[in-house]
């Protein structure tokens, strides 16, 4: 697959690049951002995937979160893809900000007209890693994943559905239980239809209940003043209860005064990167 470099900027001794390619899963051109730390010049580095939230693209994480210093210090390659297929000209994809463009919800859609293009789950777990492994100095055995809001949901489900694939997972204000919140219901009914059993396969709280697999260490930061938390869109309590039940290690931090924005992410991004580095560089 041919990669076209869109931009490259030096940052903290490494390079922040943006590429475009033709995606097979999504049947359109997709952009993604990749940060190559200084260590990547001399050897393979672990890979850390970031999934952005609703309305995000590959740009917001790389410009707003201030993650570069920590990534450079710990020697991690950080990949940030777009949040949904773009330019597919599907009717209705731009009607709302929480469904369609910028709101892929990291599922493989089964309903028309979405099922041809909206296959973000497969893109993130299969196509993109293959592409990255083939084109960049990354160690395919050492991968971790994290994200914000919808991307937090994405990170959790990717990790829970693929035990052992990721060495660690973390999230900022994730949508923990989409089955029970308005966002999730809207997206899943649109992408997956009305059969709720199909929805469970993409719900972190549900997946935990039947998680068989290897040890995970999950770090979650949640702003206490996050309006979506108060609106009941995020539902972390359900997830924590499920994890406690199943003895899945989670450290959940409720951060006083912080909201849902990138200011919140920027404050704690270093802690998260260190969390991943601990496992990726072990």
């Amino acid at each position: 697959m041919a990669l076209k470099q869109i931009s490259s900027n030096k940052c903290f001794g490494g390079l922040q690049k943006v590429f475009e390619h033709d995606s097979v899963e999504l049947n359109c051109k997709m952009k993604f951002a990749v940060y190559l730390p200084p260590k990547a010049e001399t050897g393979k580095c672990p890979a850390l995937y970031w999934l952005s939230g609703l309305t995000g693209t590959e740009q917001n994480f790389i410009s707003k979160s201030g993650y570069h210093q920590a990534a450079s210090e710990h020697g991690l390659v950080v990949i940030a893809p777009d949040t949904s297929p773009c330019g597919c000209n599907i009717k209705g994809e731009d009607e709302s900000w929480d469904f369609g463009t910028g709101a892929g919800f990291y599922v493989d859609a089964t309903e028309d007209p979405w099922k041809t293009n909206y296959r973000m789950y497969s893109y993130i777990t299969e196509e993109l890693p293959k592409l990255i492994n083939a084109n960049f100095p990354v160690d395919p055995q050492r991968t971790s994943i994290f994200g914000h809001s919808m991307g937090g949901h994405g990170a959790l489900i990717c990790a829970l559905k693929n035990p052992g694939k990721y060495k660690s997972v973390s999230a900022f204000a994730p949508i923990c239980n989409p089955l029970l919140c308005r966002w999730g219901k809207k997206a899943f009914s649109g992408y997956l239809g009305t059969d709720q059993s199909k929805w469970k396969a993409y719900d972190a709280t549900h997946l935990v209940k039947s998680y068989p697999g290897s040890q995970l260490d999950i770090l979650i930061d949640q702003g206490k003043d996050d309006q979506f938390l108060l609106d009941g869109q995020l539902l972390p309590d359900n997830f924590i209860a499920a994890c406690t039940e199943k003895k899945i290690p989670v450290v959940f931090r409720l951060q006083d005064g912080y909201d849902h924005s990138y200011y919140f992410i920027a404050t704690f991004i270093t802690d998260h990167i260190r969390h991943h580095a601990k496992y990726l560089n072990a």
Partner: protein, 704 residues
């Protein structure tokens, strides 16, 4: 100096170094749009003022240079202008494009106002523009402007612009295309053949341009450098100035004190001399007075005799003879006694020789630097000596000027080897109270002697070579029964202590072993709450099931009374310390660190002298709090830790807690321990806590 515009006038008329600029206002023309001239010149003036203001940080020394700079900038601008003009078709290709970019620092600043000047001039002439496509200026439009200006400059367009022309060369209407080096003026090629330029050396105009530009460039660099140099110099001068003030102050003080000393000495001498003279005078006067008195007596006697004799002469013969004989005896006797008519004292005083030698000496010493006072040697600090070296520290008076010190020493022998004193007995190391970390060990011991001991010596050997009798390190002169010794990490040491008095050193104490892996401490029984028991090895805390008495123990300063807690004795050394605590899932416990003087009547974490993690298990729910000053962040942990790792990092002011089995980081406090802290543990319900220490940090902890 006057900032004058009219650049297009002077260029080809006068020598490069010596432009005359004329105010455009002087020349009136109906085609000139009257609106702008002042503005533009003003603007240019403003730009220049701004530049001047920016550059006037120096001490004003560059003023002359700046003026020169102005002229140079004018020149630059003109040359820049000149570059893009069409001097003739043959020069189009030769036009040095770099000409424009060569002058970015100066030229760029000037471009804008200049451009505006051109703009207004151009507004009536836009239609006449040709497109030369000069990329250097960045836009064809600008080139157009320049060309127009150029036309004005050279009066090519029409006679109406003749008024711009300096009277010197009225007939010059064509472009100059060569440069006469001799006259230093551009001329037309044909002129070479005629007139005064016949014999002169001529070079093509663009060559001349190049060389002139180079020269200007060089000069500009030189000027820049000079500005920097001057500024540095000005700063330096300021410093020197301050130093001069200081030195003056010192000298003044010095002189004043000396001078006062001299004056005092002189005054004193004066007093003394005057007093001596006074005494002398008194002596003389008294002596004279005595003489006077005796003289007077003599006189009286004489007079009396005289009178008697006279009386006698008037007596009868018989009486007269009787008295006369007696009188004659008397007289004879009297006259025999010598009358002293010598004046006993001289009226003159001797010349006093005034002795000013000491004053002279004082005056002589005014100019010399006084010798410094003797330094004071600090008393020897413990641990400052080894078997073969000793560290000596001293202090000096700040008023003294000292060039160097001389240190000399000599071994001191006891006058007699403590004849009566026997060497002391060896001390006993308190092995249970040894505290260590990766870099040091704190040992304490009992004196082992009833009599006082002068000092102790600690001897260390690395345990790898126990046979080697060579002591690798010894610390002497320890006054108390404890010592903090620096060690290498990751080693094992065997330690001995000796006592020392005038009778000599004792034999070695029983050895103690220290491993510099991790941090090792024991629990401090003195701090232990009465309801807790500590195991023999000092590492397990037990709160028994026995029904606890309803009354709380009375308050105490040393041991905990409210919180059922105990503290450890951590070595007071900064750096990293790591230890682990084994807990039971259902146990209510608190673990963390606290200052030694944490209030013992309060709960751990309830004040700002302690930081700890508290676990409470109630109604099948685990609650975790990270307490300091009664506040805790809101943290949920899904898997209760069974072994908690605690990392105390003095360097980064952090205290971190980990779930050791999962290598999971739980929480980190940012705390700033201004003194040393100690581990603390408490049990809110019956149960036990097992401490593991003296272990090195697991890898996952190192990330924090």
């Amino acid at each position: 100096m006057e900032e004058e515009s009219g650049e297009e006038l002077g260029l080809d008329r006068s020598t490069p170094k010596d432009f005359h600029f004329y105010h455009m206002d002087l020349y009136d023309s109906e085609d000139r749009l009257q609106l702008f001239p002042e503005e533009n010149t003003r603007r240019r003036k403003e730009v220049v003022q701004a530049e001047r203001a920016n550059e006037s940080t120096g001490a004003g020394d560059g003023k002359a240079q700046r003026d020169l700079q102005e002229e140079v900038e004018e020149l630059v601008h003109l040359y820049g202008l000149e570059d893009d003009h069409e001097l003739g078709d043959e020069f189009v290709e030769n036009m040095p494009r770099m000409g424009v970019s060569e002058y970015p620092p100066y030229g760029m600043k000037r471009r804008d106002p200049a451009r505006e000047q051109r703009d207004w001039r151009l507004s009536g002439e836009a239609t006449e523009a040709e497109d030369l496509g000069f990329g250097g200026w960045g836009s064809a439009g600008q080139c157009q402007d320049l060309r127009e200006v150029y036309r004005y400059t050279h009066g090519r367009a029409s006679e109406e612009y003749e008024c711009y022309v300096i009277p010197e060369e009225e007939d010059e209407e064509e472009a100059a295309d060569v440069f006469c080096v001799t006259c230093k003026t551009p001329i037309r090629a044909f002129q070479k053949v005629f007139d005064e330029h016949k014999e002169h050396e001529v070079i093509p105009l663009n060559e001349a341009l190049e060389s002139a530009k180079d020269e200007i460039h060089k000069n500009m660099y030189k000027l820049e450098k000079q500005i920097i140099d001057m500024e540095n110099f000005a700063n330096h001068l300021e410093e020197v100035f301050i130093t001069v003030e200081e030195n003056f102050g010192k000298q003044e003080q010095n002189f004043e004190s000396h001078y006062n000393e001299i004056l005092e000495t002189l005054a004193q001498k004066y007093e003394e001399k005057i007093q001596a003279l006074g005494e002398k005078k008194k002596e003389k006067v008294e002596a004279l007075y005595e003489q006077l008195v005796s003289c007077g007596e003599n006189l009286d006697t004489c007079k009396e005799l005289m009178e008697t004799i006279e009386e006698m002469c008037h007596e009868e013969k018989v009486d007269f003879i009787k008295d006369a004989v007696a009188m004659a005896d008397r007289l004879g006797k009297f006259l025999k006694t010598k009358t002293d008519v010598e004046i006993s004292t001289q009226p003159d005083f001797e010349d006093q020789t005034l002795d000013f030698s000491d004053v002279e000496q004082l005056m002589g010493s005014i100019n010399t630097i006084p010798a410094p006072s003797a330094p004071v040697i600090n008393p020897q600090t413990p641990n400052s000596a080894t078997g073969s070296s000793v560290r000596v520290c001293w202090s000096l008076y700040s008023d003294d000027t000292v060039e160097s010190y001389q240190l000399s020493y000599r071994p001191v022998q006891d006058s007699s080897p403590g004849k009566d004193q026997a060497a002391p007995s060896p001390p006993i190391i308190k092995t249970k109270e040894i505290r260590s970390c990766e870099e040091a060990v704190l040992i304490c011991w009992e004196s082992g002697n009833l009599n006082p001991v002068d000092s102790y010596t600690v001897e260390l050997t690395q345990a790898e070579s126990p046979e080697a009798s060579g002591v690798t390190e010894s610390v002497v002169g320890i006054p108390t029964c404890e010592s903090l010794v620096q060690l290498q990490p990751g080693q094992s040491y065997v330690i001995y202590v000796r006592a020392l008095n005038t009778g000599g050193p004792s034999t070695r104490s029983e050895p103690a072993t220290v491993h510099t892996i991790g941090s090792y401490f024991r629990l401090n029984k003195d701090t232990c709450h009465p309801w807790l028991t500590i195991s023999q090895d000092g590492l397990t805390i037990l709160r028994s099931e026995r029904s606890t008495p309803t009354k709380e123990p009375p308050p105490s300063d040393t041991h905990f009374t409210r919180c059922v807690a105990v503290m450890g004795n951590l070595i007071p050394v900064r750096g990293h310390h790591y230890w682990e605590v084994e807990v039971d899932e259902h146990l209510d416990y608190t673990v963390g660190v606290a200052f030694e003087d944490v209030p013992k009547q309060e709960d751990l974490g309830a004040n700002c002298l302690s930081w700890c993690m508290r676990h409470t298990f109630a109604s099948s729910r685990h609650k975790y709090e990270f307490l300091h000053n009664r506040t805790t962040p809101d943290i949920r942990i899904t898997v209760p830790p069974k072994k908690i790792g605690i990392l105390l990092d003095y360097e980064n002011s952090k205290l971190s807690f980990f779930n050791v089995e999962l290598s999971q980081h739980l929480y980190t406090f940012s705390c700033q321990p201004h003194k040393f802290v100690h581990p603390c543990f408490s049990l809110e319900k019956p149960g036990c806590l097992k401490i593991r220490n003296g272990i090195s940090m697991p890898k996952h902890v190192t990330f924090y």
